[in-house]
């Protein structure tokens, strides 16, 4: 329509006056500590690199027990061949974990008596296969088809398709897989939605020959419009809450869960200085409190960032090589490192990371996790701030005012901490005194501050 053509520019012109400039995200502060996956007892970790309908899924095994008893059954959308499976380096998941973990940063107050000049110039100081697939075996009586059978690294892998769940359960048991009771009921929906089963076992000879200490992550690639993660099977014999850390790597932006709410972890708050020594404990409590507050049925976003930079960095950004190992398959190969003083940056590599933390139980997470990639490129990080007071001599008026303001500040920090962690505020206040005694020089100054004079 003719008249429509000039309306849009006009509207845009009017709206431009309203001027919604995107908020600049700039953090600084000295990176001190991170709350990584080691905090949790039973945290499974999964990396999903996805572009379009192509997915590279890396699964870390947190298996605790005899390696010979290890067996993994994962529903997958398509038949997987030997070329689509590889063993990934365990280090790569540690790197992603370290890069995206909730972090503790610290700032130091300036001398309030120093001549006033532009403050806030604190620079951040970042701390630093052989193809043997295709021997199809068909066990007609059980309705189970072995779509592929091959070995990769220390793993013996089977890709099964089944007609009915009872048959699959029997087949697995006959072939020496310890399947927990109740699996039958849970396998059925996957069979009916024509999913295949990726079954892995450890080949003990090869495991011992290679001298591995731990099971290495398995990485599979496939093409399917399904963007989901089956969690139901993992809940069969779970007695307690399970933690799942999902690192989704996308060329576009944030990934969110479409069938559960995705909520940001509390972030960007000032907390007392003593947390420096117990950051892990602090984050654990903070997470648990947020989890309980949200009714135990949401997924938490712990980090969302373009992977070419970080600020502050809790670990070096991943190199192109490392990203490739993590499954990123859409990278250009023009790597050139450039490091600026305040931010680390690698060449734009089109990788956006979303770190999702799901703590789930059977009653609150009935359905498998479904994801969608969005074009939301807003950065977010779980970030907690320690603000060190100025400890030098204070002989000016501004200095005295500063000193008085500290009490309120500390009290505020104590209250924030109590709210986040559900810890007892009296205990917090007591602990804080220990760290703040050397700040005020005499008891009467303390008293005056307390009176607010």
């Amino acid at each position: 329509m003719k008249s429509f053509k000039f309306i849009i520019p006009l509207l845009l012109g009017i709206l431009a006056v309203l001027c919604f400039a995107p908020t600049a995200w700039a953090f600084c502060g000295f990176y001190v500590a991170k709350a990584d996956s080691k905090l949790y007892n039973k945290a499974s970790q999964v990396v999903i690199a996805r572009e379009g309908d192509r997915t590279v899924l890396t699964m870390a095994n947190d298996y605790q027990g005899q390696v010979r008893d290890f067996a993994m059954v994962v529903p997958v959308p398509t038949v997987i061949t030997k070329e689509q499976v590889r063993v990934a380096e365990p280090k790569i998941i540690e790197r992603l974990d370290a890069f995206s973990a909730p972090r503790l940063v610290e700032y130091f107050d300036d001398d309030p008596c120093a001549p006033v000049y532009k403050r806030g110039l604190l620079q951040a100081v970042p701390s630093a296969t052989v193809n043997e697939a295709g021997d199809r075996l068909r066990d007609r009586s059980l309705g189970v088809t072995v779509e592929a059978r091959f070995s990769v690294g220390e793993y013996d892998i089977l890709i099964l398709s089944a007609k009915e769940s009872g048959g699959l359960e029997t087949w697995l048991q006959r072939n020496g897989y310890k399947i927990p009771k109740g699996a039958n009921q849970l396998l059925k929906p996957y069979i009916r939605s024509s999913m295949k089963f990726f079954v892995a076992k450890v080949n003990l000879d090869r495991f011992e020959q290679a001298g591995y200490q731990f099971l290495r992550p398995l990485q599979i690639s496939y093409k399917s419009p399904r963007f989901m993660l089956p969690i139901r099977l993992g809940m069969i014999n779970a007695t307690t809450e399970q933690d799942l850390l999902i690192y989704v790597l996308s060329p576009k932006g944030q990934t969110e869960i479409t069938n559960y709410r995705t909520v940001k972890v509390p972030s960007d708050v000032n907390i007392p200085l003593f947390i420096k020594d117990e950051f892990g404990n602090f984050y654990n409590s903070t997470f648990q409190t947020a989890y309980t507050k949200e009714g135990k049925k949401v997924a938490f976003l712990e980090y969302a960032w373009d992977m070419s930079s970080c600020d502050p960095c809790s670990a070096e950004p991943l190199t192109t090589e490392e990203l490739k190992q993590a499954g990123v398959f859409w990278l250009d190969d023009n790597s050139r490192n450039s490091i600026s003083p305040s931010r680390r940056s690698l060449p734009t590599n089109n990788v956006f990371i979303s770190r999702l933390h799901v703590r789930y139980t059977r009653d609150k997470f009935p359905e498998d996790l479904m994801f969608q990639e969005t074009s939301n490129t807003q950065s977010f990080q779980g970030r907690y701030v320690l603000q060190h007071p100025y400890t030098g001599e204070l002989k000016c008026q501004a200095g005295r005012e500063y000193k008085r303001s500290l009490f309120n500040r500390f009290e505020q920090e104590a209250q924030t901490l109590a709210r986040l962690t559900n810890w007892n505020i009296q205990d917090i206040r007591q602990k804080m005194k220990l760290t703040t005694t050397n700040l005020t020089s005499s008891w009467w100054e303390n008293f005056l501050t307390w009176l607010g004079i």
Binding site: I7, L15, P225, P366, E367, N376
Partner: protein, 284 residues
Amino acid sequence: MLLKDVRDYQILFLSLFLLLGMATRDWTLKLEMITVAIATCLLTQWLLSWLKNQHTQDTDHPLRSLPYSLLPPEINLRSPLITSLGLSLLLRADHWTTMALAAASAIASKFIFQINAKHFFNPGNFGIITALVLTPDAWVSPGQWGEDWWYGLLFVGAGGMILQRIGRWDTTAAFLGFYAFLEAIRNIWLGWTWDVYWHRLMSGSLLLFALFMITDPRSIPNARIGRIIWAITIAIITFILRNYFFVPTAVFWALFAFAPLTVLLDILHPSLRFSWFEMDKREC
């Protein structure tokens, strides 16, 4: 007067959801985006009404003689407000230009896609699909509305609709009922437990869609039988897109694709056209 028109209740409900959403639920909701949506919808409505007025005015009419023709027509505030609130609730974008495009095209669709002076695309839905197709940064967050809270929304929304007597509850009932039926069959066939079923049905944008989008009486079929056939068709397509093509925004695509079906159903099942004005008279 305020709350005299039934649409005022709808505006009230939608604003309430937005406020609640921003306060308690959805961190992807942003005030500036809502402002952009409202401003663009109102402006587009005003401009296009004015242009249309210019085009169709009767110069013989004393009030339509030249000096008056430059004046804008009486502006319809309610319809663009509802559209903009609906867009704010459902559509997410990285840049405000995307939201402006969605809002402008939503309103423009009412003026452009008309047959017998009746528009057949749902404006909000048209805006959402335009943004999803034409821009790289638009998305819909189906999971961000949680579950429990939606029981409240369901009751308030449904109660509100019946109270308003707009007579379009049949569409919501047919859509939700048939969709729930299809999902139930699938659930039984797959062998999932019923908590999976309820969890699937409580998808936030599905309910918001069923209560507030497909009930727009101005763009859906006029006859009851036409509306039921139409709603069931959309339910079937939504079901297929969601479960077999794994499209998280299935409802919006289904409505968009089958909006023109309204024209056909109106021919096959002729009935009186809905008018807010008639509605007001009836209420009096």
